[in-house]
Amino acid sequence: MAAVTATCPSPPSDECLLRRVAGGDRSALDELFRRYRQPAYRVAYRLLGHEADALDAVQEGFVKALTHLPSFQGRSSFKTWLLRVVSNASLDLGRQRGRREALSLDLSPVEELAAARLLITDDVSQQLERSDLRALLQRALATLPDAQRQTFVLHVDAELSYREVAEALGISIGTVMSRLYYARQKLKAYLEGLA
């Protein structure tokens, strides 16, 4: 009689990979890392604005998420759980190290005005270097309170739905909607203030 060996379906689910990670399977950890490092990094970078700090937060987030799996309890997807942990680690790191203005915004006042107009109008003629526009948006994001910034980044950069953001942060969908609204209003007000 052939021995029956439990195997993960292809592609393996997160639950299957987590079981394998718990059993010391390094390849399963490699797969989980490969799957979620990019959204984790995008979230961390938006919250910290600095590559090295963001990578530290990603590392810390993965370590915390994997060492506190009993707290996870499968109440949400692993992705939302991980991104919550990464975003919290990013905010903690930001407080410890002080949010750094790592991206200097070398825009002239005219270019700054053009950048702001690009964001509040549909004027596609305003061509800016992507890195400068990213830096401007990063500066605008930094003006938001942590809760609004975290909610906004989880929705926009991590592409979580309202429900997933609510699950990740342990808040109601109404609170998600409210935070996103106020975040957008503040961003718009900041950018219009440049114009």
């Binding site: 490699d30 995008r42 407080r95 609170t175």
Partner: protein, 205 residues
């Protein structure tokens, strides 16, 4: 399904949050259809929707450049190292389970001013729970107002966020650095306090 269903049939305009949810494709098909009908008759609101979409699109278009492969490899190695080695804690952690009964704020900070204990000074380190900018109170039962402290630290007045009857110390373990086991002090007044050092004569067991 969105938290609040827009009902365009009664002529009530949608809330700004609902307009943003429409821009984010978070409405159900029925809600989206109702919103489209409403926007068709209120073109001024379309600009608000477009602004929401534009900010979001630009954020996604300016996503950070992915790190180099060697940076990823370093992070992966760091994860491996942390998972296989005991983690050093940068602050003392007391593995204490506390049961709370009744209305409570999101975090509990207990400050006790009483005999034998040092009153907080201006230089005392404040334990950060939440910054005032992190908290947005959307709604609150009037009965919970007594449990919510609003203000900037340090606060010198006695603060009671939980009474002794509401707190139960289930377990505590010695701190690894000095072997001290925390205890719960329920001395003068009703406010309990978890302390690393206690006066045995003052403790109520």
């Amino acid at each position: 399904m969105i938290h609040e269903r827009p009902d365009r049939n009664d002529g009530t305009p949608p809330t700004p949050e609902q307009l943003a949810a429409f821009a984010d494709d978070e409405l159900t098909p029925a809600e989206r259809s109702a919103m489209e009908d409403w926007l068709a008759n209120h073109p001024a609101a379309v600009a608000e929707v477009e602004c929401c979409r534009r900010v979001k699109d630009l954020m996604r278009q300016t996503a950070p450049t992915p790190p180099e492969p060697r940076a990823w490899a370093a992070v992966r190695a760091g994860i491996e190292a942390c998972l296989t080695q005991p983690r050093r804690r940068s602050f003392p952690v007391f593995r204490t389970a506390v049961g709370l009964v009744g209305a409570a704020a999101a975090a509990v900070l207990v400050v006790f001013l009483g005999r034998g204990f040092m009153a907080p000074t201006a230089n005392s380190e404040v334990f950060p729970v939440a910054d005032v900018g992190d908290v947005m109170i959307l709604s609150m039962d009037p009965g919970d107002a007594a449990a919510l402290v609003v203000g900037k630290p340090p606060t010198v007045e006695p603060i009671v966020l939980a009474t002794a009857e509401e707190v139960t110390l289930v377990s505590a373990e010695p701190y690894h650095a000095d072997g001290v086991t925390p205890d719960m002090w329920t001395g003068q007044g009703a406010a309990p306090m978890i302390v690393p050092f206690g006066n045995a004569d003052d403790r109520e067991k």
